[in-house]
């Protein structure tokens, strides 16, 4: 579904390419971790995967379509098939949590009464039923992450990309979030989680078959079994 072939990316300043010679295939139903030191380019790679950045070299195909051939509208439609939990989960701060979670439905004109059950199920699944009417700035870090995850999956995407979903929350909450992602994977979704939390990766490995990719020296490598 997502295929990278010799992809390189550079933000265009003197440092040269941040990522280079990246060849990668995300198979349906697979579970990936993406790790590497801060500043290695994890967020950048995820941005390439959901069309927020375009490779400066190589080919990136999403469902067989080359990203360079896609119009802005095509990319908007693509975002409905790829659920993303951003590193700095951003919301519309003037709308309650429930409406924020339902945003992808609303902007694709699929919001409606028939979706209300879906929405409340989803809020129950991430444990935010009681906070449905709160405004995003009133949420705790963990609640924000879970709201972001609910928003990422409300369109039933085939792929969920999560950027540091456990960035600033405690271990127990991390476990809960991981559990949600594992559950999604069992439903057949492809998952990719960027993190440098090795403990989280170990915990996941006991639950699913996960591949661990590491960005090092500008390239993506399969990490050894020592993790």
């Amino acid at each position: 579904m997502i295929e990278l072939e010799n992809v390189a990316y550079s933000y265009g300043y003197a440092g040269g390419e941040l990522l280079t010679e990246i060849s990668l295939k995300l198979a349906p139903g697979s579970f990936h971790f993406l790790t590497g030191p801060s500043g290695a380019g994890k967020t950048t790679l995820l941005k390439l995967l959901y069309g927020a950045l375009v490779p400066t070299a190589g080919h990136l195909r999403l469902w067989g379509q080359d990203i360079r051939a896609m119009s802005r509208d095509d990319i908007a439609i693509l975002r409905r098939k790829v659920g993303v939990v951003h590193q700095d989960c951003r919301f519309l701060d003037h709308l309650p949590v429930a409406e924020n979670v339902a945003l992808p439905l609303t902007v694709s004109h699929q919001g409606g009464p028939d979706q209300a059950q879906n929405l409340s199920d989803l809020l129950g699944w991430v444990g935010l039923t009681a906070r449905a009417d709160a405004l995003p700035p009133e949420l705790s870090g963990g609640e924000r992450q879970r709201a972001a995850l609910a928003r990422a999956v409300i369109m039933s995407p085939e792929i969920v990309l999560a950027d540091e979903p456990t960035g600033n929350i405690d271990w127990e909450m991390s476990q809960r979030l991981l559990h949600l992602l594992v559950e999604l994977n069992r439903m057949g979704k492809t998952i990719m989680i960027a993190t440098h939390d090795l403990q989280l990766i170990r915990a996941a490995k006991s639950q699913v078959q996960a591949r661990v990719l590491r960005i090092s020296n500008r390239r993506v490598q399969l990490a050894g079994a020592d993790l």
């Binding site: 941005k47 069309g51 927020a52 950045l53 802005r72 509208d73 908007a76 439609i77 693509l78 975002r79 409905r80 993303v84 951003h86 951003r90 919301f91 519309l92 701060d93 003037h94 709308l95 409406e99 945003l103 992808p104 609303t106 902007v107 694709s108 919001g111 928003r151 369109m155």
Partner: protein, 302 residues
């Protein structure tokens, strides 16, 4: 029909999309005020253009139709020369009517200056002939030449000398009015562009989030464009109503329409209809300005 449908759909809008743009900010209030003020000014510029247009036409028309021939001659020749001039006029194509003013007429004309007791018949006052043209008028140069040959004491005054600058001035005033309307439209567009840009910058986060959850550019732009367009239209409507009310209660200086621009800066009859154009025009300017601004700032976003 399709355009009407699209316009209706635009006006009704998508309440859910509208909710995504945070409630009215400062910039939207500015837009309402700006378009109200501009519409108010546009009403006056419109009134100025139309009134001076009316005036230019009337001066051009009425005055072109009347002229005066003045005959100055020794007392014993004046009657002969008057008759000769009338004969010339009778055979001049384009002259509808020519009439020598009687002593009584002339006394009435001079009364305001010299009082009722002026002995007109004893004074060497020139005789006046009133000439009314018909159709496209007569050939003033030709008439002058003939009078010169046959009536030595006659001078034709067709008011051209003082009429032309007046008509020209009225024409310039009208052009100035239209220029003012154009400038007002341009300034409105510029100010709404600034306000829209400020609103888009203030809502960069909202736009980024909408884009990330899969909203298309048109959807995002539409939410902003609709808000600005509707506010601009509402402001312009208010400004136009105020402008029209002001025109209606503006003192008319007692004179009738004839007295022209200075006392009669008003609209007449169907001309009031032109003011109806102002609010939709302001809305169109706002629509185009906001859409361009929204597209520009969306292009910068991945």
């Amino acid at each position: 029909m399709r355009a009407l449908h699209a316009a209706l759909a635009f006006l009704i809008g998508d309440p859910q999309a509208d909710r995504m743009v945070p409630p009215a900010g400062f910039t939207v209030t500015l837009t309402v005020f700006t378009s109200a003020a501009m519409a108010f000014l546009a009403v006056f510029a419109l009134a100025l253009s139309l009134a001076s247009g009316r005036l230019a036409e009337r001066w051009g028309d009425d005055l072109a139709k009347s002229a005066t021939i003045r005959i100055s001659a020794p007392a014993d020749q004046i009657e002969d020369q008057t008759r000769a001039a009338l004969r010339v006029l009778e055979t001049t194509p384009g002259v509808a009517e020519a009439r020598a003013l009687s002593d009584e007429d002339q006394r009435v004309l001079l009364e305001p200056w010299f009082g009722p007791d002026l002995p007109v018949d004893q004074l060497p006052i020139p005789r006046l002939i009133e000439v009314i043209a018909e159709g496209d008028g007569y050939d003033a140069t030709g008439l002058r030449l003939r009078l010169q040959a046959e009536v030595p004491g006659a001078v034709l005054d067709d008011h051209a000398a003082w009429r032309r600058p007046l008509v020209e001035a009225a024409g310039r005033l009208r052009a100035l009015g239209w220029l003012a309307i154009l400038l007002i439209g341009g300034a409105t567009g510029a100010m709404i562009t600034l306000a829209a840009n400020a609103a888009l910058a203030a809502n960069a986060q909202v736009i980024a989030v909408m884009r990330l959850v899969g909203a298309r550019d048109n959807y995002i732009a539409g939410a902003f464009v609709r808000r600005f367009t509707l506010r601009a239209a509402a402001g312009a409507l208010g400004g136009t109503v105020l402008g029209v009310l002001t025109l209606v209660i503006l003192p008319r200086g007692g004179g009738d329409d004839e007295t022209g621009v200075l006392t009669g800066l008003g609209l007449s009859g169907l001309q009031w209809g032109w003011t109806l154009v102002i609010p939709p025009l302001a809305a169109a300017v706002a629509f185009l300005a906001t859409r361009a601004a929204a597209r520009r700032s969306l292009q910068r976003l991945s």
